[in-house]
């Protein structure tokens, strides 16, 4: 669906073949673990078998004496003179533990050796003396007085100032609009629920891998599959206490991230091992390491209520939202307060967000972080409200929808957004208007939001003597952004897509780029690319002014053509480039922007049909439609791919995925067999409807599209299951066991 006012583009909106695809379909593309360096050693990281323990001592002498071992390091190697491991910051102890381990799988020591096998064997000889402590695993239990305390120094940050006693509650954030208590009393209908979701993993198929070379002159090179070369460089520099300008980060291809490859784990360890040995050192995780030692996304407990008038006008939303931060302080619940009510215009709001540490891995972002769980609560309450009022839930959503000028949960008015348009698209869709027949079947819908960010980006554009251009990008390409950026440059300078060659370059070769996250690259780095394109046209005019002997300001550039003021001389970009660069000096320009914090918001809306097997409790997805306001779809096939991929990750989160722990805090299902991600058999084709409401904050109307599609599935499927079974689902995942429990087939 295209809005009537969409401009006509020449390249944008087409579907060219991506230039990195041949390497990826032939096996030639080089990912993190594919790095090979001359004289390279292999490393291995020893991890904690305990979820909560003091480390009394670590004896590495036997490991160091093992034949083939070149170095063994612990957190002590990261201490400055006069420092002890107890003084090290969280950033450092999360990559090698200091005086305590806070989760099963936390890195404790690392070995560099002549082979992977030798490094593993030697690591078994490291003697760690643990004093095992009681772990706390449940977010609500961790909040109770008397719960085992992870960090003695932690005091809860509250609106009234810091708490007096040590606590696992990192912070209590409060957001209030209007007078929610009073307004609740005036509501005709109030629905409420106590919702919970489990810790889940991003599930990227490529385990983390990093290789480092520390040269004797202090110059360090790191090859890594990371979501941000510059943030990785900064974090590594901080941990190593080494100047960031002496660290060059070279990005390899990256096998998925989804927010899980924003933190550093292996990079500083590999660098320290290289410093100690004088050799390049490669570290790579296996799947168990990835599940147990990297950052999954929080489990949550959300108690919420929604109040409305009998006409269906939402008046009040109140939610008490506790989010697991894992082992170290985070801001997940604070995020939740920023997104929880974004889809609707609600005057009276109270949100209490509790960030809580528990003995699980330090959590990280996962595609629209914190928003799916918040929507799991909100969107089921909307469905319950529709039932109570006997209204179509889609019409209820439309009636209360946010629009331009509505204040979201951040209290700031939205610019032009497309939530109304996508709910209307659902109402108009073939899926919504097709009857769903048969027993044990139900249809559910839900909305979702992510605010999407801009941040800082830089690119370089070099004109080649043959008139084509090279685009050097510093943003990690997770899913095809080299293509979406090259398309924007081709549009801006009026050349064919095939005449732009885009590559991701290292941190020494381009200006600063923030992390590839928040759906920001096609938007923010796109703005830097547009800027570079404009700068390039201006630079070409300067060159042309000399050649044509006319003032640069009088040269026209329109529809891909330069022309002299009197029209006597003209040429395409390519022709002019061959003239002024092919016969003159080289030409490189850059584009650098701070694209701002907020993009203006991305909204998704999903429709799902399910069938619930009453005997086995299995939920089968029969049909799925993902609708989204995508601003302007630069490459529609990749935009569809984002919607489809996000939806299926959400399906996994809803139905099967969860971290299982024993009472001692040891993860029990750290394999792809037992951590059950969706396969081809679990899902149908995912239909998409792209609604294009151009974003006024971007020259081509781009909106980030990657994050919103993971937000609606949890609630949409829960709503569908509720309609199929008559039983509301308050807890994820809706696994067969859970369905049988809640439908009374087996005991809880």
């Amino acid at each position: 669906m295209v809005m009537a006012d969409k401009p006509q583009y020449r390249v944008i909106g087409t579907r060219p073949l991506r230039p990195d695809a041949i390497d990826k379909v032939t096996g030639r593309a080089q990912y993190g673990a594919d790095t090979r360096q001359s004289g390279m050693l292999r490393g291995y990281v020893l991890r904690s078998p305990h979820a909560h323990a003091n480390i009394r001592s670590i004896d590495t002498s036997k490991a160091l004496a093992y034949p083939g071992v070149k170095a063994v390091i612990t957190a002590a190697d990261f201490c400055l003179p006069g420092q002890t491991v107890a003084d090290l910051p969280d950033l450092t102890t999360n990559i090698l533990a200091g005086s305590k381990v806070y989760y099963h799988g936390q890195a404790v020591a690392a070995v560099a050796a002549i082979s992977d096998e030798v490094a593993r064997e030697a690591a078994r000889l490291i003697d760690v003396d643990y004093e095992v402590l009681q772990p706390v695993l449940d977010v609500r239990e961790a909040m109770l007085p008397g719960a085992p305390v992870l960090h003695e120094a932690m005091r809860t940050r509250t609106p009234e100032g810091p708490g007096a006693e040590p606590s696992n509650i990192v912070a209590h954030a409060v957001v209030v609009f209007g007078d929610p208590e009073a307004a609740l009393a005036d509501c005709d209908v109030v629905v409420e629920g106590d919702f919970s979701t489990r810790m889940v993993h991003q599930g990227y198929i490529e385990p983390q891998a990093a290789t480092a070379m520390w040269n004797p002159d202090g110059q360090v090179t790191i090859w890594t599959a990371h979501q941000g070369s510059f943030p990785a460089r900064q974090a590594t520099a901080t941990i190593l206490n080494h100047p960031s300008s002496k660290i060059k980060v070279v990005l390899t291809e990256i096998g998925g991230g989804f927010g899980g490859k924003i933190a550093v784990y292996l990079e500083p360890v590999a660098a320290m091992l290289s410093k100690k040995t004088g050799h390049p050192v490669k570290l790579q995780m296996d799947r168990v390491d990835v599940f147990e030692g990297t950052g999954p996304t929080p489990g949550t407990s959300i108690r919420a209520k929604l109040g409305a008038t009998k006409d269906g006008n939402f008046k009040v939303y109140m939610a008490d939202m506790a989010y697991e931060n894992g082992a170290y302080a985070g801001t997940a619940a604070n995020y939740a307060t920023m997104v929880a009510t974004a889809c609707y215009d609600i005057e009276h709001v109270r949100l209490d967000g509790y960030d809580v540490v528990v003995n699980k891995p330090r959590t990280q972002d996962y595609r629209a972080p914190s928003s799916p769980a918040a929507a799991f609560a909100m969107e089921q309450l909307v469905d319950q409200m529709a039932e109570k009022l006997n209204m179509d839930p889609e019409k209820l959503r439309l009636q209360n929808s946010s629009r331009e000028g509505t204040r979201g949960s951040m209290g700031m008015p939205f610019a032009r957004i497309g939530h109304e348009e996508i709910v209307q698209a659902a109402l108009d869709s073939d899926h919504y208007n097709s009857p769903l027949e048969g027993p044990n079947r139900g249809r559910g819908t839900a909305s979702g939001y992510w605010f999407n960010v801009g941040l800082r980006s830089s690119v370089n554009v070099t004109v080649q003597p043959d008139g084509t251009v090279a685009l050097s990008v510093g943003s990690t390409d997770l899913s095809g952004t080299r293509t979406s950026l090259a398309m924007q440059l081709a549009e801006t300078i009026g050349v064919d897509f095939e005449d732009v060659k885009a590559a991701v370059v290292d941190t020494d070769s381009v200006g600063y780029n923030d992390v590839t996250a928040g759906s920001r690259v096609t938007f923010g780095t796109g703005m830097a690319t547009y800027e570079a394109g404009k700068n390039l046209i201006a630079a070409m005019k300067e060159r042309l002014a000399t050649t044509w002997n006319v003032p640069a300001d009088d040269i026209q550039f329109e529809a891909g053509k330069f022309s002299s003021p009197d029209g006597s001389k003209s040429g395409t970009f390519k022709e002019i480039a061959q003239l002024v660069v092919g016969r003159g000096p080289g030409l490189t320009v850059s584009g650098s922007v701070n694209a701002g914090f907020l993009q203006g918001g991305g909204f998704a809306h999903h429709i799902v049909d399910v069938e619930v097997d009453p005997d086995t409790g299995k939920v089968q997805i029969l049909r799925y439609t993902a609708i989204q306001d995508v601003g302007t779809a630069i490459h529609p096939a990749y935009v569809e791919g984002q919607l489809q991929g996000g939806a299926v990750q959400g399906i996994g989160w809803a139905l099967n995925e969860e971290y299982f722990y024993d009472d001692n805090g040891r993860m029990l299902n750290s394999s792809f067999l037992d951590y059950r991600m969706p396969t081809t058999l679990d899902v149908p084709m995912i239909d998409t409807i792209l609604v294009e409401v151009p974003n006024p904050l971007h020259p081509y109307g781009v909106r980030g599209v990657g994050e919103p599609p993971i937000v609606p599935p949890l609630a949409a499927i829960a709503n569908a299951v509720a309609h199929a079974t008559g039983v509301r689902q308050y807890q994820l995942p809706m696994s067969p066991r859970r369905i049988l429990q809640t439908t009374g087939k087996i005991e809880e």
Binding site: L17, V25, T26, I254, R287, G645, T680
Partner: protein, 161 residues
């Protein structure tokens, strides 16, 4: 530990190497033979990123020992294209935007080729059943299944010719 001498054919070429008895085929391919197109996603046979064809059978190379391929015929992702000519599956994956990050792509292409070569008329349900051992976290599978469906007619035509 004594090394074993392995003589095998990989992608049509004779290959000889020495290996420890405990080394997996995936490790040998990646670390000794420089064939890094087979990817390690799980190292226990659950993700399919290391799929290769061993004597005509689709296997996870992480679950095969390197010594087991002595005297065998092996095809890896590096052997799927015919020189400069991409295989129809490789071309359809590109045409259909069936890859995002691309880490699972080699495994999917090797697995899909093994299916279509024995069942050129495989329908969507059969394709989904066959590919259930290959995990992708980016695409939601839609465009992958479509790419396999789209490559099938050309492979049928090639088989008849």
């Amino acid at each position: 530990m004594s090394k074993h001498h392995v003589i095998t054919r990989i992608n049509g070429e004779q290959v000889e190497f020495l290996t420890d008895p405990g080394t997996s085929l995936l490790s040998a391919l990646r670390d000794q033979l420089g064939l890094t197109g087979s990817k390690e996603g799980c190292n226990n046979g659950n993700c399919g990123a290391c799929n290769v064809v061993l004597n005509g059978e689709l296997v996870n190379s992480c679950c095969v020992l390197a010594v087991e391929i002595n005297g065998a015929e092996l095809t890896t992702i590096e052997g799927v294209a015919d020189g400069d000519n991409l295989h129809p599956l490789q071309q359809s994956f590109i045409n259909d935007a069936a890859l995002q990050c691309g880490i699972c792509t080699p495994g999917f292409i090797v697995a899909a080729k093994a299916l279509l070569e024995r069942e050129p008329d495989a329908d969507e349900a059969r394709i989904r059943h066959w590919l259930a051992g290959n995990l992708c976290r980016c695409t939601g599978y839609d465009k992958i299944v479509q790419a396999v469906l789209d490559a099938a007619p050309e492979m049928r035509a090639a088989a008849r010719a």
